[in-house]
């Protein structure tokens, strides 16, 4: 079967490679960088027996992620990142506004931001580092999306597994060892259903309002 040349041309233009990882915005100084990133992930989901009466497949087309991010470095010791996201926009025909501050942090690397061993001290809205899987960039998943079926986080109030806190992050031994860990805001009574956290602490996930501690170490052989 011969494929029409216009169709081939159209598909080629549709899937034309983007030119770079980020749009670099010129600044009046060479001491700082500013990069703009855009990410769109339209997603189509078909579920067997997913209609209200359960007799037919359900269809859903929505924007799994619609992100805009700004990030860069200042000198050789500071980095920053700010990202807005509108996750699941249009899912289940729900188009209400949901713009989230997904990431907002700055980091200080006293010995420099590049090299085989780097230590960052970061603060802001950060990933809670409890699993390497969630730290992977959303464009890099082997599967279409996060595999969250194995996670059991009560109410999961954390926006895309982030929380406000401070952490130490970096790598060592020529990047063979990676590490990150810190202290985060964690659960609050407002994250539970109304009335489930009593004034005497009964039923509260964090009756003492203790912060959340989390960390991990990764290794790269070879």
């Amino acid at each position: 079967m011969k494929v029409p040349s216009r169709l081939v041309l159209g598909l080629a233009l549709l899937f034309a490679p983007v030119s770079s990882y980020a749009i670099s915005i010129p600044l009046p100084t060479t001491e700082a960088t500013l990069n703009l990133d855009l990410q769109l992930q339209p997603q189509f989901v078909l579920n067997e027996a997913g209609t209200p009466d359960g007799r037919d497949p359900s269809y859903d087309l929505f924007l799994r992620r619609a992100r805009i991010a700004l990030g860069g470095n200042v000198g050789q010791n500071f980095s920053y990142f700010f990202q807005l996201d509108s996750p699941n926009f249009g899912k289940f025909s729900n188009f209400t506004g949901r713009l989230l501050v997904q990431d907002a942090w700055f980091g200080w690397a006293p010995t420099g931001i590049s090299g085989g061993t780097v230590v960052y001290v970061e603060a802001g809205q950060l990933y809670i580092p409890f699993s390497r899987h969630i730290l992977v960039a959303t464009t890099n998943f082997i599967t279409a999306d996060l595999q969250t079926d194995g996670l059991r986080i009560p109410n999961n109030p954390f926006p895309a597994f982030r929380s406000v806190g401070a952490q130490v992050r970096g790598w060592a031994l020529d990047k063979k060892i990676g590490f990150r860990g810190g202290v985060f805001e964690g659960y609050g009574p407002i994250d539970q259903a109304a009335g489930t956290c009593a004034s005497d602490g009964a039923g509260c996930i964090t009756p003492k309002r203790n912060p959340l501690f989390s960390g991990l170490v990764t290794s790269r052989p070879g």
Partner: protein
């Protein structure tokens, strides 16, 4: 199946799943708070009885799902 047009910057995932209970995008993900309904995906317990709302149980029969996701990163 993952079709890469420009590495991970422009690619399409086509994923087929079979789920019994809890799942990120199967019938389990269609909940009243999110979708406004819970699908009556489960067959009646007795012939002629009412269909039952989906529950996150591995004893359910399997439910097939298809996900197609196009990632564009610039």
């Amino acid at each position: 199946m993952n079709l890469f047009f420009n590495k991970n910057l422009n690619h399409v995932n086509i994923e087929f799943g079979i789920n019994h209970g809890f799942s990120a995008y199967g019938p389990s993900s269609i909940t009243a708070p999110a979708a406004g309904y819970v699908p009556a995906s489960l067959d009646p317990l007795t012939p002629g009885g009412p269909r039952r709302p989906f529950a996150n149980s591995l004893t359910n029969s399997n439910f097939k799902s298809l996900v197609v996701q196009w990632t564009m990163y610039l």
